[in-house]
């Protein structure tokens, strides 16, 4: 009898142990409950007067449309696979002027119909993430690729995030590598000059008459020997819930780039070289030349404060410095206002300021004896203001449905961007997130 009693206790203890295991499994919330599909789209349009392709003077008109789809699939309770595919179809007046000589009257102030005026960038990112049973450890790994006519990129990386202190503190580290390859294209007059043995016999020089300095002789020009650009980024993040209504995060990246960091079709004009023209288009003295390595250090922070049931205050600040002599400050604020339980409208403002790279000078101000030079105004001193608004619809219960997909979220944004060097841009973004019914 005594033995039966012990056997019963033994079996009961196993049974209880089993129940404990089961209850753990029952209460482990899935990281992602169901398949989610994001359709995203943006329309971007800019114009300016400092085209880098024509040496810092010329139209910068550019239009870009970017349809994108992101699919997140829960593989089990802990693992999620995300596939992010997108294209960016653009037309650019300035890159069209890599070859402005398909027109009888070439000009940096008119759009060329050349092949380089349009291109499509295709991107793919596949990410896998795993969360521990207690959801306090998350790691992820990803691979990526992108391709356009003259540029391709492959990337890979991963990260680890740890949560502490009742999930009030979060620390993360990530590393990313990008291995990029150029298929360089050069300004047409430099390409033809070099292809014809550094003479003016052949190519566009047979079709047009050179004015100004008729003895056009870009002696600085040589083809870029390097075709690769490699980037390595190490990222750190720290997040903290400060109290029931406030949370903060701090980010820091250490970025290093090596290889061909200049753009082979961006022209430069020297102050100490006589100017040559075809029609009103000035022939390049050389392409931009920049060092083959760059070290960047950005540090940023976000602070979000829940004001009341109607308002949230979102802020962001970043300081940036690099070894090309650029330093910058970025600050932005956003004030979401809940119109109803599901609709939020959010006005936003962003300020950006940067100092110029030590390699930058405007049109006709570099000397041919300089080692490095660029007239790309993206590397100049400027301030920029961006302001706009967004509207967000969120329904976590996905009451509205299209076929088997419930609408979880709709996001619309409009922003105007104004740079102190005259560049103006507008961008409209739209996103809709569906959740697959189980």
């Amino acid at each position: 009898m005594k033995n039966y009693f012990f056997l019963l206790l033994f079996l009961c203890s196993f049974s209880l142990f089993g129940q404990e295991q089961d209850s753990t499994l029952v209460f482990k919330k899935r990281v992602l409950e169901s398949v989610e599909v994001d359709f995203l789209m943006s329309y971007y349009k800019q114009d300016g007067i400092h085209s880098a392709v024509s040496g810092g003077s010329g139209m910068e008109e550019l239009t870009d449309i970017t349809p994108t789809i992101v699919v997140a699939v829960p593989l089990n309770d802990d693992d999620v696979l995300t596939v992010d595919m997108g294209i960016s179809a653009y037309s650019s007046a300035s890159s069209g002027n890599i070859n402005p000589f398909d027109s009888a009257t070439p000009s940096p102030w008119q759009a060329s119909s050349g092949a380089s005026a349009k291109d499509v960038l295709t991107t793919l990112v596949i990410n896998y993430s795993h969360s521990s049973d207690d959801r306090n450890t998350i790691w992820n790994a990803h691979i990526s690729g992108s391709v356009e006519y003259d540029y391709s990129s492959i990337g890979f990386g991963g990260g680890l995030t740890k949560l502490f202190n009742d999930k009030n503190t979060e620390v993360g580290i990530a590393a990313n590598f990008y291995l990029d390859t150029w298929k360089p294209i050069y300004p047409k007059e430099l390409q033809d000059f070099a292809d014809n043995g550094n003479t003016l016999n052949g190519g566009i020089f047979d079709d047009f008459t050179i004015t100004g300095n008729t003895n056009y002789n870009p002696t600085n020009f040589v083809f870029q020997p390097e075709k690769n650009r490699n980037s390595f980024a190490l990222s750190f993040s720290f997040s903290q819930v400060l109290n029931k209504k406030t949370q903060l995060s701090i980010f820091a990246d250490v970025l290093h780039q090596q290889g061909l960091l200049s753009t082979p079709y961006q022209r430069v004009y020297f102050a100490d070289v006589s100017d040559s023209f075809i029609n009103e288009f000035q022939l390049a003295d050389d392409i931009e030349r920049l060092p083959d390595s760059r070290f960047k250090l950005p540090i940023g922070a976000r602070l979000n404060y829940y004001i009341n049931e109607k308002f949230v205050f979102r802020t962001y600040y970043r300081f940036y410095t690099d070894n090309w002599g650029i330093s910058s400050h970025t600050a932005s604020v956003e004030l979401p206002y809940k119109i109803t339980d599901r609709f939020t409208i959010f006005p936003m403002y962003r300020f950006y300021t940067q100092s110029a790279s030590k390699y930058f000078a405007p049109h006709e101000q570099h000397l041919s004896t300089d080692e490095f030079y660029t007239s790309d105004y993206d590397l100049s001193t400027f301030d920029a203001h961006q302001y706009g608004f967004g509207v967000n619809y969120t329904d976590i219960f996905t009451a509205s449905k299209i076929w088997k997909f419930g609408i979880k979220n709709i996001d619309f944004r409009y922003n105007h961007y104004s740079r102190s060097d005259g560049l103006e841009a507008n961008i409209v973004s739209f996103g809709i997130k569906f959740v697959l019914d189980k």
Partner: protein, 69 residues
Amino acid sequence: MKNIIILALILIALQSCNSVKEYEKEKINDPDMKLAARSSERFETNFQVYREAAAGANGGKTGGGCGCN
């Protein structure tokens, strides 16, 4: 060095914050309180990376692609 000291001081100060329990995080878990950019903000981050010299420290793209148009 000065920046590192300031950062260390902030981190130490944050350690003194009271722990907020999961059931007290209703406001912290509000979708607008997320410490990340909204998904449709990625396109703005992309064009800013192209039109400005600074990049990174925002959860956005930190490398890859030429961004030269």
